[in-house]
Amino acid sequence: MVGEIGTLLIGLSLAVALYTAYAAWRGIHLSAAPVTAALGKTWLHSAQNATNALTALLGVALLMLLLAFLTDHFEISYVAQHSSTVIPVYLKISAVWAGQEGSLLLWCFLQALFAALATGRASERARPLVPWATVFLSLTTAFFVAVTFFLSQPFTLLPQVPLEGRGLNPLLRHPGMIFHPPALYVGYVGLAVPFAFAMAALITRQIKEWTAAIRTWTLIAWLGLGLGLLLGMRWAYDVLGWGGYWGWDPVENAGLLPWFTATALLHGAVMQEEKRGFHVWNMLMVVFSFALVLFGTFATRSGMIQSVHAYAVSNLGGYFLTAIAVTVVGSLALLYTRRAALKDASATVENLLSRDGMFFLTLALFCTLTLSVLVGSLLPTLTEVFAGQRFEAGPAWFDRVTGPQFAVLILVIGLCPLLGRGVAALKRLRQLRWVVIGGAVVVPVVAALAGFTDVFSLIGFAISGFAGAATLAEFVDGVITRRKRTNEAPLNALWHLLRLQRRKYGGYLVHLGVILMALGIIGTRMYPFEVQTTVNAGQATTVQGYTLIFEELKSDFVADYNTTWANVSVYRGATYLTTLQPRLNRYTGTEQTITVPALHPDLREDLYLILSGWTSDGATATFKVVINALVNFLWLGGLIFLAGGGLALWPRMENRTWNGVALIVGLVLLLGAGWAMWGMSHGSVNYGGGRPLVGQDAPDFRLSLLDGETVSLKSLRGQIAVVNFWATWCPSCVDEMPDLQEAWEAYRGRGVTFLGVAYQDSETTVRSALVQYDTTYPVGLDTGDRIAKQYGITGIPETFIVAPDGRVAYVHVGPITAAALSAQLDSLLK
């Protein structure tokens, strides 16, 4: 029944969406003549009601789908494909948008919601544009609902109800993946609002005010897209296991392209609101943003592109292409008919070295970037069609083409605050010349000292330093100016500055975030390092100053997957850093295998370890080691970027309590994101120390023996010490006890001491075991696992033989035999 109601709701939504468009259209035409103005208003009122009803209908349909997932309604095909009884609740929720049908339904709901909010709660400035905006928004919603209803039904039923679902695609079981689609959709769907209002502005010839009217919506959409892109990058980094975060995948580009044009629109809107023209630019940007949104969803769903994103090959391609064509041709035609009005309104940019000039350059750069990435994405198809040979534009091509453009963009970020407004263009530059030169010199010097010496990267560092210094100077300058007036403490002044000029300083924060991200991109792209190495168990290998010791291979079965991992101790020189556990998971439901990398993050670089393969006896394993230089600047920059966007977006609220709450919530979210990236383990476990290697000093410890005495390893210098880690709850440990006792009896008095260290055990059980096996060598409990941590114990039993000089002579992992012990001790006693 849940499925059937859902389908009915979607069908009803289609009818309501079409009615909304008709009602709004009718209302517009009736309102034109004074006689029928009242009736027109009634129709518009009805259209608004219909928009609200549409939101409710689609919301309930989405809720039904969510319910179906939470209650394991496997008779619905979509639920059976993406869920199972064993996955946790939060993943069941995110499974709703794991596939094509559900994600389209989410899109429809968001579309309707945004349409209702944008038209129902429009600001005074936007009010005249609302009727036509309603027409366009409802037509867009109708299109998506039609596609969902006719081509991509989420509620189709299976002829037989399976007992268990296939389970969620393992690649999607990551917090980034949970929020990545909704964030992206907020961006995509949100861009329909500026588009609709822009078209309304063109039709009603009220072309001056529309950017201010929908400023908040444009910002929300832009921030949503940005968040979605950042989440996607982090997800790719954590889950995909190739060591990178951006592959210029056509689907990735599909998300990046509208972000470029939306950023251009944001900047052009600033100019338009300051009455400096850019009307045609902004119109073009908004049209192309929306067209690129449609193109993006076409790329993901048409099945024409092979990608980690591509949903199953589908038949939607043709319809989306038609929609894109209609949108672009229609909008451009409309623009053409209103060209006179647009030309009147536009101003010309006279001086490039001015604020106007910099904004113009910014817009131009974003246009060239959009064109570059678009051409690159289409190049394979275009060359195949026109030249017969397919030219794949790989990541290197994209890097080479977009790299210089990004560099100029960062330069402009730095130049813009320096070039004041109008006449005082270069005065500020003169004021700050030492600061920015300092930035441009200090950063490359520090980088070079840290080992980054490639010339182009140094140029990049210089530009970033310059831009960073200029942007920071803006903050300092603002605080100083404010303090002159109010004489507050500097931090107070900064707080009030941020609170009162949210757009300006939010923007500067975003710029700072982008500059930091640029540092991360320069590091990872210009200093790539990747190596594949095969190691035997217990062997060490050196990579870029890190020493990696492959300890052992382990296996386990969890929920619905089989996991195999390797314990790799990581040292820098002689210092123990961490133990990394890269793993391979094999999922039983979907027959998929995914690699889970292990990360050791650091300021200078990330050590990224992937388990590629192993021999069946677990004695040898192959690893891929990637060193990602400066990548944490990328993530940090991303957080600051989001903080800036959030600040710019925050509405003006005089209520102190609300402001406080907002700040705390924002900080908590950012801290949460930071913790998720750097606080969580990502496959690394700190055992306190790695297993001491043969030839290294055996870590000293104090063991409290059961008979009350305490013995330290140091006091045993001059003797051979056999240190055995064991426990009564470990069968193989118990098996080796007779062997150990036998060896003890044979070698005691010959300068050999045995020490038994009971790991996570209780005194009573240990005592009874000792009695049972007639063990007479000293045994003690390792309280708090202190000794085990020092010796990097990851499993028991393990036996260490320490030579008289205090160094480790022999390490044995697993149960040991008396014969083996004798052999080792004999060779040492010689």
């Binding site: 009915l8 009602a23 006689v35 009634t42 009805s46 409710a56």
Partner: protein, 127 residues
Amino acid sequence: MSLGSIFVGLAIAVMVIAYIVRPFRTASGAAAARTDKLIEAWVRAAPGATPGAKDTDAPVSVAVPAPTVAATPIIVPQVAPPSAAALSAAVNFCPQCGRRVTADYRFCPGCGALLPHEEGASSGDVA
């Protein structure tokens, strides 16, 4: 399709349609009827318009809630309106389409434009 689903679907459809159609019922219906009544009362109250007719409604003191569609409330005339005979005798022309109309017309029957009234009469919008 189970019976339960059909019922629930119909119920939702009915509720949605009712909500969408609501403006038509509240706006034009009641308000228009109210406005018509007021016009009638005003016309009747005009001296000479309908001789001997009694004012069943006192147009001057009726509290008029502002109609949902018009922004301006009905301005009750302070000056005695011209007689109906006088109005139908004078000839005017519609400013929008130029059609010949008489002064007692409020709207042009040809193009629907609002006709201006000169003789100090009500300028209220009763659209």
